[in-house]
């Protein structure tokens, strides 16, 4: 398995990025040069410093170290993604399984119509709307993204589940008296694992994009907490002189998302190779 995976250099790079970002996130308080700068710290004497040995990525308009804030920003981005997916994936998958298994029943049409509602506007718009109805904060942004995220998994699993549950071996187990929940979790779910796993990995990056977009607009995590989207938005006000305030957080977002995308593609290739 690892041998096949490691044949693709890009997937290994992806895995390397993801692992290092996760390690950074876990040990953030111990690694960064100025852990205090992640909060409401001010040091006007050192404000607006260009990148130097003291501030590797420069400092912002109130003297906080950009590097330290980026690492903490990554930490909150990763936590957020994990939280969103940990709730929305099981829920969405379960809904998809049920709707796909009980095809053309009332449950099926109710679940399908509800997912239709959530999928009737572009994802970012819905997240923005829900986040704005609640008070803007990290917790509510997570909530908003979770609410709009699960229907995608329902739709993904629905197709798989409905085609598998029509296959003969499922019908045969039914006739021999196997209970439907056993069928759902022991026969149908395992057949959906590879697309789900691929999507989860790719979505880790996508949630980070959506979350930082919320923060960029001002509907996500609130200052002084370091959110990558916030930092880009703040920095944009001081362009072009203090370019480092914008460019480094932007690069950080790109690199994390790149990592998850490379890894996700690697996982997909792995499964499609095994199918052959």
């Amino acid at each position: 398995m690892w041998y096949k995976f490691s044949r693709s250099k890009l997937s290994v790079i992806g895995l390397f990025i993801v692992v290092s970002v996760i390690l950074l996130a876990i040990f953030a308080p111990f690694i960064v040069p100025y852990p205090l700068h992640a909060g409401a710290y001010t040091d006007f004497a050192n404000a607006n410093q260009a990148p130097s040995a003291e501030f590797l990525m420069g400092s912002d308009n109130i003297g906080r170290d950009i590097l330290s804030r980026i690492v903490f920003g990554l930490r909150s981005a990763i936590t957020m993604s994990l939280f969103v997916l940990a709730i929305s994936v099981p829920f969405g998958v379960f809904m998809g399984l049920i709707a796909g298994y009980f095809q053309r029943s009332l449950i099926d049409s109710v679940i399908t119509r509800i997912t239709d509602i959530f999928l009737s506007v572009p994802p970012l718009v819905l997240a923005l709307v829900i986040a704005s109805l609640l008070e803007p904060s990290l917790r509510n942004a997570m909530l908003a993204i979770t609410i709009m995220w699960w229907p995608w998994y329902t739709r993904l699993v629905y197709g798989q589940a409905s085609s598998i549950s029509r296959l003969d071996f499922v019908r045969a187990s039914e006739l021999s008296g196997v209970k439907w929940w056993n069928l759902l979790f022991k026969e149908i779910l395992p057949n959906c694992v590879s697309p789900i796993l691929t999507k989860v990995t790719l979505d880790m990056g996508l949630v980070i994009i959506i979350a930082s977009s919320l923060a960029f607009v001002g509907l996500g995590e609130q200052p002084p907490a370091p959110a990558l989207g916030n930092m880009v938005a703040d920095g944009a006000k001081y362009m072009p002189e203090q370019w480092w305030m914008t460019i480094f957080p932007a690069l950080a977002i790109m690199i994390v998302v790149l990592g998850f995308n490379l890894l996700g593609d690697g996982i997909r290739d792995l499964y499609s190779m095994e199918d052959k």
């Binding site: 119509r113 509800i114 239709d116 509602i117 959530f118 999928l119 009737s120 506007v121 572009p122 994802p123 970012l124 718009v125 819905l126 923005l128 709307v129 829900i130 986040a131 704005s132 109805l133 609640l134 990056g205 994009i209 930082s212 977009s213 960029f216 607009v217 001002g218 509907l219 989207g229 880009v232 938005a233 920095g235 944009a236 362009m239 072009p240 370019w243 914008t246 460019i247 932007a250 977002i253 790109m254 998302v257 790149l258 995308n261």
Partner: protein, 331 residues
């Protein structure tokens, strides 16, 4: 047809959802509208006027009957009718999105074809790397980077706002200037589109190039392409006719989704480039908790989404006779 009806139903469901959320959450909309210093009896009057004293479904009923007549209520932020605001801001967004979509189609498909033609060689590799970077970069990062480079460091293009053409006929600057036959303002109008439009389009260009490439490379291995070669057809005819047309089907269905994503990313890009469009209006409404405006913006985007899907279905049916002819027989 059936699908369109269901999407309209879904949109109604969405309006109920957002409407109830906005009314049930803590905070008194009437108090928020008037500010903390307004006397209590004035707030009470507004509450009655907004029908906040009545049950939720009755409130929704009044609101919905207004919407059917084209009345979305009054905006707390601009103090004007929301429908008036939408009429003022929507053209700018539509114009921007259409510009971006055009950029996407042209460059996305061209890069995909180029990548296939040089399959496995350095041109292909460079396009694939660039496309990958395009996919992982959020639209607002593109916006900020473009602003930094072309707005400040090498200011060759207008980086903020949009040309105003008076008098407005359609509200779209390019169309209006053409209608008046004023070509110099047409080109100036276009120049305002380049930065925000391209920043908005980048993501989709990358996605489209990737989808087009992978579908073309797949079909390149198909028997019908082999057969076309075995019959001695010209390589360019095979590439641009017999290979491209079946390969575009997945690209077009992706375009519908991309079109919707353009509208949502417009929320960020309009903010960056100070573009006076519906999305910037929407973001401000959200920050202001202007519920009537928020719901209206969402519904308008939902309708645009439905239209984009119908459009994509139509184009796919044109490309793929299997769908066109069977749909004619069936539903």
């Amino acid at each position: 047809m059936k699908r369109t009806l269901w999407s309209v139903a879904a949109l109604i469901g969405l309006s109920i959802l957002i409407f109830s959320l906005s009314r049930m959450l803590p905070g008194d909309p009437a108090r928020m509208a008037l500010g903390p210093r307004a006397p209590e009896y004035v707030v009470e009057e507004l509450r009655v006027e907004m029908r906040l004293d009545q049950p939720l479904h009755i409130q929704y009923g009044y609101w919905a009957s207004g919407v059917v007549r084209g009345d979305f209520g009054r905006s707390l932020m601009t103090r004007r009718a929301v429908s008036q605001d939408i009429r003022a801001y929507l053209p700018a967004t539509i114009e921007l999105v259409i510009f971006a979509a055009t950029v996407q189609v042209i460059f996305g498909i061209a890069l995909g074809v180029l990548s296939t033609m040089y399959n496995g060689r350095w041109v292909d590799n460079i396009i694939r790397i660039v496309a990958y970077l395009g996919i992982v970069t959020p639209a607002f990062v593109f916006g900020v980077i473009f602003l930094l480079i072309f707005g400040y460091l090498w200011p060759i293009l207008p980086a903020a706002g949009r040309l105003s053409v008076e008098p407005a006929i359609t509200g779209m600057t390019t169309v209006d200037s053409l209608l008046k036959g004023d070509f110099s303002s047409f080109f100036r109008a276009i120049s305002h589109f380049i930065l925000p439009g391209t920043a908005l389009a980048m993501n989709g260009v990358a996605q489209l190039a990737r989808v087009t490439r992978s579908s073309m490379v797949d079909n390149l291995k198909s028997d019908y392409v082999d057969m076309a070669f075995s019959q001695g057809l010209n390589e360019s005819k095979i590439m641009f006719k017999y290979l491209l047309r079946p390969s575009l089907i997945p690209s077009v269905s992706m375009m519908a989704m991309q079109f919707a994503i353009l509208f949502s990313n417009a929320f960020l890009v309009e903010l960056i480039f100070n573009w006076p469009g519906l999305s910037r209006y929407g973001v401000n409404a959200m920050l202001y908790k202007d519920f009537n405006a928020i719901i209206a913006v969402v519904l308008v985007l939902g309708i645009v989404f439905i239209i984009a899907n119908i459009l994509a279905d139509t184009i796919i049916a044109l490309l793929d006779p299997r769908i066109r002819l069977q749909a004619g027989k069936g539903a």
